[in-house]
Symmetry: C2
Subunit: 288 residues, 2 copies
């Protein structure tokens, strides 16, 4: 694999091929102690729980309502999908976006006490802007919810909604009092994680990216797909090694597990960023 470099005429990449894809959770913003979308899910569940007494005895709802983060994490990807379906469906796309924005403007991370949109990674913001300044079209390709991300990620990263690809549910067109709406249904249309990421990329972009950045085994196939083309290529991983400024985790973590992809990065010479050593800052400076 030939790496993308900023200079050198032999590495010139035609503008239409300048496609860069980024995972979101753990790559563009933090993801501990649980994916941030989970905090939204928990808050939404708690608000709705009086109408759902069965949640008190059914996993993963029981753990989520009790704030038992380990119990939620133990329910795995499938549990995540169930929770997302229960809290992200039965309303219009507009109502859901309002819910997310309302929550995002007030909810705070339990450890840093910052609003979640201030827990984006400063060096990655700079990289996204650098690529755009050099003619790249920057995309998010995330296991997180597409509609959830689109509500805030455009303001956070400068990436427009049509370049934000994520896991998504089915939508249904309806006329309500003569006004068209799109209802969010509790049926998964795409799990944009692992082998689903190249699928999402092909479906939404229709071109193989030349630049991909992730942080976990869920990004492995996206990196393989990106690295497999001809010409200059970049495949990178953020390695969470900074227990004091952020978190340190990899092969054993229930959230953002980095194991097989780390081995493949070593074997194939992908770039691995050591957060503790390589980043001067992790989060943007706090606003005074």
């Amino acid at each position: 694999m030939k790496k993308v470099t900023a200079t050198g005429s032999s590495d010139f990449v035609p503008p239409e091929q300048r496609i860069a894809v980024f995972d979101n959770d753990g790559t563009l913003w933090a993801e501990q102690p649980i994916y941030f979308q989970f905090f939204f899910v928990i808050d939404q569940l708690q608000a709705q729980s009086p109408q759902h007494p069965e949640w008190k005895t059914t996993e993963p709802f029981k753990s989520a309502l009790a704030g038992d983060l380990k119990g939620v994490a133990a329910s795995g990807e499938n549990g995540i999908v169930q929770l997302v379906a229960a809290t992200h469906a039965g309303m219009t796309t507009e109502q859901f976006a309002r819910n997310v924005n309302e929550w995002m403007s007030t909810a705070r991370h339990p450890k840093t006490r910052r609003v979640f949109t201030e827990m984006v990674y400063q060096p990655m913001l700079e990289l996204v802007h650098y690529l755009r300044d050099n003619g790249f079209k920057t995309y998010i390709v995330s296991g997180g919810g597409q509609d959830f991300m689109r509500a805030w990620a455009t303001a956070a990263y400068g990436i427009p909604p049509e370049q934000i690809i994520g896991s998504q549910g089915e939508l249904k067109f309806e006329l309500r009092d003569g006004k068209p709406v799109l209802m969010k249904e509790a049926k998964v249309a795409l799990v944009d994680d692992g082998p689903g990421k190249p699928v999402g990329i092909e479906r939404f972009i229709g071109r193989k990216p030349i630049f991909a950045f992730g942080n976990s085994d869920g990004d492995q196939q996206m990196l393989e797909w990106t690295a497999s083309g001809d010409g200059a290529r970049f495949a990178g991983l953020v390695h969470h090694t900074d227990a004091s400024r952020e978190w340190a985790y990899d092969r054993q973590s229930p959230v953002g597990k980095l194991d097989k992809a780390l081995d493949e990065a070593t074997a194939k010479g992908w770039t691995v960023v050591d957060m503790r050593k390589d980043w001067n800052a992790v989060f943007p400076a706090e606003k005074k």
Copy 2:
């Protein structure tokens, strides 16, 4: 509904809202006597038919193989989906694109004897370019196959693959001899027609367009969705009224039926283009 106009400060539209969506079949290129993708399907079926003896006695395959266009049309949308699945699956995305390109460079329309990419509408090409010159992002939102269109529509209309949305099947990521591929599966992921068009728009673009052009009842919900927002809006229909230069059809046509949407256009003041009266040219001039 307030119409989009080229001048007038009160109608100024911020750049990020300049989203224009176009149906393809019957709007950007011709669609008679059957959708052009059908000709591709028939040719692919005929090449494969020795391996599928059951097709001789099963609709819609039987009609398709016999070149019985009415029989194929009578099988409706569901029949279309079956044929597409049978001829568009079981191969990699790359192989499929090669098949389409090979066919597109040689196959000719039975009436005009022109290659199909020369049966795009000259006035619509000019409109697409006009909108782009004025900062619009132009999209195709079509009931036709997304992968089929992406193989040739970028060259034909100057619209990049990520702005070509169509009906689509499931994809599966696989490693073959260590090389990642995406296999096309015989399972429908989205029928991007009728009420599926606003769904495709929301899923892929995440913003409501302000400009939409179609030609049939399959575009009705896309036009309703586009017209329903605040501010300046344009909803238009191509009315096929030109039996000598193209075809004349509307309320009774098995392909590109225009009935309910024509009534709604009249009731709501949408723009209806009369092909015979309004277009100086229909197709691009023949190359000498």
